[in-house]
């Protein structure tokens, strides 16, 4: 082979051999993460065609329209949920809702972001195990976290109410019970439509009610 001097690869990055076989072009879908989309290949991708890069929001998987749709599904408890809406695990909305919940608690004088984080993590884990045991098809952790996060929205209403009024009277108890029921009803509705578990809505709603009850406990006390 002739000696050709320094011949560095054009992209300036070393692409490992197995990656080169598996690398797929970015198809622009935001629904599923593309396989093999590792930072190494992202760099080389970036190096080669800057104009073909997808827009930032699409690359991050944040689709505001879908977030809005899912929010509406949660807010109308009697609206029938579409089973497909939870196919994409979107954690941007739930993250926003958890932060909003923590912020409303902060406005009421309770600095409890740590509790919100811990309880949501443990709660999601518990629901994940339970739903995997109870459903025919399995469920992914991201889906569970996403659904539970979206259904936290009414709890934000409760904690914003708690900024102005105390929830420790009879009215507070009734309101809290109503909001817990609303959250768990929405969550169980989405779960059973996504997992096709008919007739078990109450069985799924009860653990959700317990989880949201703990959140309500943080808001009230």
């Amino acid at each position: 082979r002739p000696y050709g001097g320094y011949e560095y690869p054009q992209q300036g990055g070393f692409v490992p051999p197995d990656m080169m076989q598996q690398q797929q072009p970015y198809t622009g879908q935001i629904y599923q993460p593309t396989q093999g989309y590792t930072p190494a290949s992202a760099q080389s991708f970036y190096g080669s065609n800057f104009e073909d890069e997808p827009p930032l929001l699409e690359e991050l998987g944040i689709n505001f329209d879908h977030i809005w749709q899912k929010t509406l599904t949660v807010l109308h408890p009697l609206k029938v949920a579409d089973g497909n809406i939870m196919n994409e695990t979107d954690l941007a909305g739930p993250m926003v809702f958890c932060l909003a919940f923590g912020a409303t608690l902060l406005l009421a004088g309770k600095i409890q972001f740590g509790y919100v984080y811990g309880i949501s993590a443990i709660g999601c884990l518990g629901m994940f195990c339970l739903l995997n045991l109870m459903s025919m098809t399995g469920v992914s952790f991201g889906c569970v976290a996403s659904v539970l996060g979206y259904c936290l929205l009414p709890m934000i209403l409760l904690s914003s109410f708690a900024i102005v009024f105390s929830l420790q009277g009879v009215m507070g108890i009734i309101l809290t019970a109503g909001i817990i029921g609303w959250c768990s009803f929405s969550a169980s509705k989405i779960f059973i439509s996504a997992l096709a578990m008919e007739g078990q809505q109450l069985l799924v709603a009860y653990p959700c009610a317990l989880l949201y009850g703990v959140f309500a406990l943080i808001s009230v006390f």
Binding site: R1, P2, P9, F14, P17, L133, M134, L202, L203
Partner: protein, 374 residues
């Protein structure tokens, strides 16, 4: 530079075999299998171009890693670029020697010749491979041992069944002559344990209980799950000793459903604070669920002594647990309530010389309660 002309390619070498100083040894760059990390050492080539070209060959798994020195540059020292390159190479060699061996023995002869970038890539590839292998092994072990699917049949229930079993758990059976059926499901008991946790948390929050070492949530979960799992295991062990016909899942299920009485009692008495009410609930509700569990156990055990041991232990543990939960997690409220049950006077009201006659005990407890809240 011991030239071993007939040496086979690095991939066919066993990994433990140390690679001798081998100028022709190609660095393991591009070996998709790290089967011969030892032989990957000493990789250097005189020509980067040849290296890159041969790199591709190596990746596809063909060809030997031995580079023919004949194809190396023959412009040794003649051109300016080569001088620069050799100078650079020597500097890098020094650096690498100074750094010492790193990775899977790639620098056996201490003269790892290659781009600095290449070595970085090599290290990264090694790490990548190790990660893949490790991940595969971990997932295999996980799917073998932590297979959650073995619990799947115990969660296959309908709401109607759960409700029926909850109600049945408060009704003692009459017939103890032949073994009573125990539903071997885990959904109901698990939900009841979680409900108990929630009720405990609620009770602790309303009474402003302060747990010094630990958190409220951790204490509640630890207590309830500890009771459920621990007492079930203990009773299962006793049942084994007393030759009772009961399996572990059935024991868990039985005890779990027995917690339904506890949940009702605590829910009511944490919100309505009367001692006498609690004792009534303790005897009636706790007693009913205990009787049910005892009857089921008796129906499955033979022999008077064994029945006595088993049922006595279970009854004692069950009732004492309810007592413990009531008193350990709600006691701060009692002190304050004693003062409130006296004459209805706010403590800081200034009434000169018109102090109504209250007993010393009430005054003392008021003072204590105020000191506690301060």
């Amino acid at each position: 530079m011991g030239a071993m002309g007939g040496a086979p390619g690095p991939r066919s070498r066993p990994p433990s075999h140390p690679a001798p100083a081998h100028p022709r040894q190609r660095g393991g760059a591009g070996t998709g299998t790290m089967a011969a990390p030892g032989a990957a050492g000493g990789g250097r080539s005189g020509a980067p171009a040849a290296e890159w070209g041969g790199f591709e060959d190596n990746m596809q798994g063909g060809g030997s890693a031995v580079i023919d020195m004949e194809n190396m540059d023959d412009t040794s020292g003649s051109s300016f670029e080569d001088m620069g390159e050799m100078h650079q190479r020597m500097k890098e060699e020094e650096e690498e020697e100074a750094e010492g061996e790193a990775g899977a023995g790639e620098e056996e002869d201490g003269e790892f010749l290659g781009m600095k970038g290449l070595r970085g890539q090599l290290g990264r590839q090694v790490a990548d491979q190790m990660w893949q292998v490790g991940k595969r092994q971990a997932s295999r072990a996980f799917s073998l041992y932590a297979n959650i699917d073995i619990l799947r049949p115990y969660f296959d229930v309908e709401p109607v069944q759960v409700r029926a079993r909850l109600l049945e758990s408060m009704i003692p059976v009459k017939m103890i002559n032949f073994p009573q059926k125990i539903a071997g499901e885990l959904y109901g008991p698990l939900m009841l344990v979680f409900t108990l946790v929630a009720i405990l948390l609620h009770g602790m929050k309303t009474s402003d209980t302060i747990i010094r070492e630990g958190t409220l949530m951790g204490t509640a979960i630890g207590t309830c799950f500890g009771y459920w799992l621990g007492v079930s295991s203990f009773m299962y062990f006793l049942a084994y000793l007393c030759n009772a016909q009961i399996t572990m899942v059935q024991m868990l299920s039985l005890l779990g459903y027995g917690l339904f009485g506890h949940c009702i009692t605590l829910f009511v008495t944490y919100n309505i604070h009367f001692h006498s009410l609690f004792y009534i609930f303790w005897l009636v509700v706790g007693g009913l669920s205990t009787l049910r569990m005892v009857a089921v156990l008796v129906s499955r055990t033979v022999g008077h002594t064994q029945r006595l041991i088993l049922c006595g232990t279970l009854a004692a543990l069950h009732m004492l647990f309810l007592l413990y939960l009531h008193f350990a997690y709600h006691k701060v409220v009692e002190g304050i309530l004693d003062t409130l049950e006296g004459p209805n006077m706010p403590p800081f009201q200034r009434v000169a010389r018109d102090i109504p006659v209250v007993s010393n005990a009430v005054l003392n407890t008021t003072a204590k309660a105020i000191a506690l809240t301060l």
